[in-house]
Amino acid sequence: MKFLSEYRDADLAKKYLDEIHSTVTRQWNIMEVCGGQTHSLVKNGIMDLLPKEVQMIHGPGCPVCVTPLHLIDKAIYLAEDKNVILCSFGDMLRVPGSKKSLLQAKAGGADVRILYSPLEAVQIANENPDKEVVFFAVGFETTAPANALSIDKAYDLGLTNYSILASQVLVPPAMEAVIEDEESKIDAFLAAGHVCTIMGMDEYYPLVAHYRIPMVVTGFEPVDLLQGILLTVQQLEKGEAELQNQYSRVVKPKGNAKAQELIRKIFMVSDREWRGIGTIPASGFEVRRKYAAFDANLKFTIQVEKVEEPKECIAGLVLKGIKKPKQCSQFGKKCTPQNPMGAPMVSSEGACAAYYHFSGAAETVA
């Protein structure tokens, strides 16, 4: 398959691996920011092939993992309203809220639908004028344009029964929060390729310059990841700190202007709560006042109690790369993909689930 098979080429992968092995001289901690990269590292067994000096640390770029618990409870609360059709991306359904997941709410009779695009939700709203249709708009800069487009379209259609429950977060502030953390051990980043496809690279230059930390915008296929890791290791070994673009076949320096314009039209930057990390200033989007009618948070009176995360769960430390999943006392014991205590165990992009599948923890608890 063109544009895929060449980035899964075993010979090329081996070439990059050999180069990584011959370049590295000491211990480096590299954080891959995006959950999609984590998923690919695990799926292709890449961590196994890297020299032991190169430690990959799984970053906070898993939208499922960082969506606050009370927002999941809100989505469930809305879904259980007989007048609401709640639409969501697939992997949000299994995430545990404080009492249940959307999947359990669906089994209990709630109208929860898995969609691939928020535009489908607009269509459902158009076809069901007597129902309220809410899209659970979770994600990073990558999902923001489509979510914005859904509001833009609903506005043009004059729909009054469509809204989004947004947990729209931004990558650069989270990277900064990770670097700023006193316990942080991150030496370099693989920046998130698809986020940069939308937003471009400009936001990252100040981070690289200010913190003197190497960053390589990296794709998702095995060869992409290995090349990204090699470029990062080369910088680290030379003591350089540059912003490089490994994913130039997709990422343009200025990003996608049209998508950015659409985002600015519908959303404004706001403080956001991140599950496991807490509130990070200016780290997300909320719907602009002009489109307030499409903001489910404002449209509905949603009463959910603020619930504390389970005390044993160290998701926040894992998301910041301070602790490895295996350092959690509950890992693979009380907390498994079948019965996750914290969100990183839910999604296959989550660091804990990734480790669980990768490391044979399944066997130790079977």
């Binding site: 075993a10 081996k14 992997d91 299994r94 994600g139 999604s347 599948h357």
Partner: protein
Amino acid sequence: MKLQCPMPKLDFDIITLGHGSGGLLTNKLLDSGVFHLFDNKHLQQRHDGAMLTLEGKTAFTTDSFVISPIFFPDSNIGELAVNGTVNDLAMCGAIPQYLSLSFILEEGLKMTEFWEILVSIKSAAEQANVQIVTGDTKVVEKGKGDKIFINTTGIGHLHAKADIAPSNVQPGDKIIVSDSIATHGVAIMSVREGLEFESELKSDTRGLGHMVSILLDTFGEDIHLLKDPTRGGVATVLNEIARDRNLGIEILQKNLPLQNEVSALCEILGLDPLYVANEGIFIAVVSDAISEEVVEKLQSMEYGANASIIGEVTKNHPKQVVLTSAIGGKRIVNMLAGEQLPRIC
């Protein structure tokens, strides 16, 4: 091959509650539809059940079919309901002989659709050389079903050379898939509501009894285990084998046969083909010594062109299935925690 049978004249163009009442409507539906189409000496008895004479060791299995949509590229739920149970018998090393056929119909199902399904059932049964000897029809109110649910139960006598059991699986055995994986599940996904792909992909549902019979004729007890990787896909079946035998399984990603179109749709939909349902393939665990010959034999058959040795059974890492990726990395292929859910990005 599709059968062409003209639909008999019926009083209704949709299924009504009356068709499940047991009264006149039921009888008319059965007489001019089911009995007419599946006619055989057992049905002609018009008795409460079929009385069969069985000889020797017999396999017995049942399965229910609740697929949505009920019509999908090149096939429908009826064909699936026959092939599914026939294939379960084949996986036991049995030659399928008799089927029961039960419908739960939802009020409002179009008679033309029901007829098309019945015709597909007849066609699939003929191809698999099985007789439908007993059955049942119930109708539920609109909203209480999903157009049509089908249950089939099957009986077949064991092939004389068959010795198929999980306990026969040994370290060193090779694991073979009989054809490309994930085709059926992806074909179904491509026509689900909301996902309109311009795709030519067809379900690969088919009876596997004939292929299995040839393998058993040729290789007999060297065929240690047969499984059809339906729900949960290849990964789930391999995990079941590893768990039940307390042995490890190693598979090679580069040996997994996958149609280009299936692979592309899996990429788009965020699905792992290892977990996607299959209807027209089986997994064979066979002695190392004959494994190449089995693949050659399969490749010479109509539905085995892409047969491949995908891995082997090992004493290492008991209960675990380990995949070596195309670039040489390893990962554990677990059972799914639940349904496979598409990822956000």
